[in-house]
Amino acid sequence: MIPAPTAENPFAGDNSGIQKRETIARWALRVGSYIVVLTTAAIMLHIFAKGAPVAFQSKWPFVNTQFLTELPATLHVIEGKQGQHIETDVNGADAAKQELGDNFASEKTISYSGGGILGPIVGTALLVIVSVSVALFLGVCCAIYLSEYAKKGKFLETVRLAILNLAGVPSVVFGLFGLGAFVLTAPVFVDVPAERSVFAIPLGFTTLSFQGWDTCVLSGGFTLAFVILPVIITASEQCLQAVPQGFRETSMALGATRWQTIRYSVLPFATPGILTSSILGIARAAGETAPIMFTAALAFKDKLPWQKDLPPLPADASIFAHWEQSVSRFLGIFTESVQALPYHIYTLAAKIPQNEYAERAQYGSVFVFLVLVASLAAASIWLRIHLRKKYKW
């Protein structure tokens, strides 16, 4: 029976049905959120539990420097007849075998699972530097043009749509695009064009040959730049739009040109946001695997990009005396192919036989990678808070 309002309780009524629905809705939403949080926590804790022991140690300096400063190597596991168990690298393996002598029972080799992951860390860092520089330059230029110069209309709508579509392109397609565009056809200055050159323009003193950059940091970095370009353009445009129109009007009314207005009273106030979003772009670029598979990454490389068999510069002269060589050697870093963290993780997970010895490198790499990405995200948050305080209106 529905209670009727009375003089004592003019607000009497039956709302049990409404209450029931209210409860169901609340619980459905709550359970959904819990599932998300629990799944994330499970993944993180699992990686932390298995990966932290690889990256950290109980003795000073508490960080496993070997894992962070050595190149990946093949792990040799040697077992003796009396139950000896030795894990070592290729050099230690021979010595261990000799020491065991007749006691030697078996030897197992596990690729990439020994040593550390310095190569992939360095490679990812180089790729990120190149991709973010390129993407920031192109992205900010594009965002400024779209937000400040372009007339509203069909053209602008088309460009926006194109950018949105670019964000939806699968990353493996970007990888293939990079292979075609940068690895195989990008222009270089050479004295003698290679045979595979698409076409060559003789310039007299040299030749501009469209023969590609090969698989290298530059190719991979440019490819990654296009992957994160939509993110950077969209975010930069939003940051520019967030700067009050009044600043632009005032500046123009004082006689500033459009570029002066942008330079002095729009960009300074949009920069914090642009930087923040570009850091998130870094995290994205660092994590992409498919775009670098064909353009930059190697499964294994026993040298860092700057370790090349080149004659040392004459010791007698300062670095400035050979600046041309120094510069070309520095740039040479970017024309090397590298290992990269996400691709290394893929290799460890899919390309080597799985056993208990492989786990160390697998979880260690993933853990280090996650820590790097998390610290980038933290840096972006810190930067945002810090710069917001400085520039508020």
Partner: protein, 258 residues
């Protein structure tokens, strides 16, 4: 009252039509603004008084499809739509203060020096002098001289608007356009700005848009009444408010319509 005005008006709008795309916002406007006088533009919302104001320094150029379709606007005797008019020079000499006080989130000093800096002034002593002169003229110097490095956003609303006036007069414009400069301010701040305008009129020619008729009476020497894009009446303020010639003006002043 003030220095006698030269015969030629500083702003001369001659028989001007103005359109946003295909809709005509202003029609057959003719208006002469004298040197060192305050001229008020009044009228109901949407009558085109802000548009007219923004015609004088060509701020309407920013709006797509906005253009003068007939007649011309002369400032200091020069048609400002001529091809050889440098927009940056025009705006340097025709300053503007907006409805919403919008100081840049920079220091007080940098705000006032902005106009000079973008016109290439780098000499520290020139900038210092201009900042002091502008702040003095805006009646802010005594309050702010010890904290020129402070962020302009730390100022109160009224101070911010006076800072914007200081910023606009730092480039020594001949004409100062004010687009409802007091509409966002409290009565005390409004009073201060109005006092300021009397003083500024000694050095500058002021054109002010206001929706507050008492304000027009208090600050202006001449008043123009606009209605639906047409200039209904333009006369010395006292005459217009006490003895309007047009029925429409009288009706508006009596509050019969708004």
């Amino acid at each position: 009252m003030v220095t006698p005005a030269p015969k030629q008006p500083v702003v001369h709008v001659c028989d001007m039509d103005f359109c946003y795309g295909s809709s005509r916002a202003l029609q057959d406007i003719s208006l002469e603004v004298e040197y060192h006088r305050v001229t008020a533009l009044i009228g109901p919302s949407g009558c085109g008084k802000s548009t007219l104001l923004r015609c004088i320094n060509r701020m309407n150029d920013r709006v797509t499809g906005a253009r003068v379709t007939k007649g011309e606007v002369k400032v200091k005797g020069k048609n400002i739509h001529d091809a050889d008019v440098d927009l940056t020079q025009l705006r340097k000499q025709v300053g503007m203060v907006f409805q919403k006080s919008n100081p840049f989130p920079k220091s007080i000093y940098e705000n006032v020096a902005y106009g000079l800096r973008i016109h290439g002034e780098k000499r520290k002593n020139v900038l210092d002098e201009a900042v002091e002169r502008s702040l003095r003229q805006a009646a802010l110097w005594d309050d702010l001289k010890d904290r020129l490095a402070a962020n302009a956003l730390a100022l109160s609303g009224g101070q911010q608007q006076r800072l914007c006036i200081a910023r606009a007069i730092a480039t020594l414009p001949d004409v100062l356009l004010m687009d409802e400069p007091c509409s966002a301010l409290d009565p005390i701040s409004t009073l201060k700005i109005e006092e300021l305008m009397h003083q500024l009129a000694q050095n500058y020619t002021i054109v002010i848009v206001t929706h507050n008729m008492q304000q027009a009476v208090r600050v202006s020497d001449y008043t123009a009444f606009l209605h639906l894009g047409k200039l209904v009446e333009f006369a010395p303020t006292e005459e217009l408010f006490t003895n309007p010639h047009e029925k429409l003006t009288e009706a508006y002043l009596r509050g019969t319509f708004s």
